[in-house]
Symmetry: C2
Subunit: 316 residues, 2 copies
């Protein structure tokens, strides 16, 4: 198995990607503070390049590769945000990207990827089809495969988001990140361990896709079979690396109902005037369903992304 | 007629309101820069308190009043954002607000006002009904009337938005603000004259509510009769004060089609991941309809507000 990224590796990753990413703002809202009776700090990765934190990890990998390794391009499979991130990072290093996407991925995400000059190869929306299609693409092109989350360089890149939070906000009681494949959550957990060890890390997961919750509870990785959630960024299962980090460094995973996700998403849109995707709103849904736990606490929430199909809003 | 605010009055207003308002961020977008072939700087007053620049002017008036003047509360008429701003500023100074609103005002704006503890008095959606109803309210309560735009203290407050832009961005070729009653546009024009005199000021107005355009062209204030536009913040006509400032300090008023407003609004939502109301998107619509004029230019755009009824989106 791969090594867990060290403090130095996270620091180096952050330094390496700085010119490729935005330092996103941390927003507060007195209206939310009143509603929840706590102090909420929203890390706005929806305002990141490509509209999601995924730009951090993808940049870190692509900037770590030599010119030689990049000669035949890069490839990945992704339901959307990682795809866009790999495509843009590849474009910035003048190499080609091949993206395997399930044909069910929102049109806006497919278009974004093509807009960055990447080649899209559609597959069935199963892990098996993704992996088989990707294998073929890599065999045919010789492209370098960039895993969406189970890679120490990806985790180190995603860790930079929480690192930036801790550079600005002291003494957080909790930091909450959504969990799909676990790249963001494990990066968040490592940055917390290294840069804000008194803060507790919570993973936020939809009940309809609770494989990470069950995996940690039973100490074995469950596959994500027929997940049913509006949070389309959280459909994948943990990898060996992310599982091992989450097991060790995350306090707990809290699952939430679909209704709470939609309600939280709408609250963020209405009160903060920013667009977040359902996967990002899962973090606020944890507060909505557990108000007492967070009363009078200082809480960081990582708003992971803002890529939403505006023609298919859950309340329209 | 009232005096036009001086440089010192704008500086004092800005100092006075600083603790009541947010210093909103100026966002850039490489995607927009590519599309328009220029350098765009978006002043995000949608992220202002109450979701609109109106908090600046309302705070300035209410902070200028003595305790004695505030004893019987304050009153205004407004289609929405000024109402919310007066209500919140009144609450922060522990005085009562009476708000006359047309019964056609979006529910989200009515709710926001009530949420700040103000009393809402509904009227017909005509200037006559607004003014008559307000007169009655003021007679009955003795409340201090705060005009939504035709007041030097309001203009000085709104001027602080452009002042902040010029504190951060040098050498703008243009700055564009929407025009309804003209408070924001005349404040923007004054700040430009005092703090960035080489910048040209453009007013952005919907074709379906082009009374300001015609007023400046013909050198007389036209009433706004049956305006037809989705930009519900731009329905009112100029006042004597705002007319005189705009006439002197604004380069031109450019009118835009409804389609361009909706398209621009959606572009901002999709690419910048922030929520703006149609009235704010009118500024980008000016660029969309006049690409050549703005090529290779540095352009500031004041995104005036973000209060939208999410159940009634123009593309749903």
């Amino acid at each position: 198995m791969q090594n867990i990224p060290s403090k130095q590796e996270i620091e180096r990753a952050h330094e390496r990607i700085k010119k490729f990413i935005h330092r996103t703002p941390v927003f507060t809202s007195s209206s939310f503070n009143e509603i929840f009776g706590g102090y909420l700090f929203f890390k706005c990765e929806n305002l990141q390049r490509v509209g999601a934190f995924k730009m951090r990890g993808a940049s870190n990998v692509i900037l770590s590769l030599s010119e030689n390794e990049l000669l035949k391009g890069v490839a990945t499979h992704s339901s959307g945000n990682h795809a866009a991130a790999v495509s843009l990072a590849a474009k910035l290093r003048n190499t080609k990207a091949y993206i395997v996407m399930p044909h069910t991925a929102p049109q806006i995400k497919q278009n974004a990827v093509r807009g960055y000059g990447a080649e899209v190869i559609l597959c069935e929306p199963t892990l098996q089809s993704r992996e088989e299609t990707l294998k073929k693409v890599v065999e045919q092109t010789g492209a370098y495969f960039i895993h969406p989350y189970n890679d120490a360089r990806i985790v180190a890149g995603q860790a930079s988001a929480a690192k930036e939070v801790f550079e600005e906000i002291n003494d957080l009681d909790f930091i909450i990140a959504p969990v799909g494949g676990g790249g963001l959550l494990s990066g968040t957990a490592l940055s917390t361990y290294f840069f804000s060890p008194s803060t507790k890390v919570i993973g936020a997961e939809p009940k309809g896709a609770d494989d990470a919750f069950r995996s940690i509870r039973d100490n074995k990785i469950y596959p994500s079979i027929n997940p049913k959630t509006i949070a389309d960024g959280l459909l994948t299962q943990l990898g060996e690396l992310t599982f091992s980090i989450i097991k060790k460094y995350v306090s707990e995973i809290i699952t939430v109902e679909e209704d709470s996700i939609v309600k939280s998403m709408r609250m963020i849109w209405e009160r903060m005037k920013i667009i977040v995707e359902p996967s990002a709103a899962v973090t606020l849904a944890v507060l909505l369903e557990n108000k007492e736990k967070f009363e009078n606490k200082k809480i960081g929430l990582i708003l992971s992304g803002g890529n939403v199909d505006l023609d298919k809003l859950p309340w329209c």
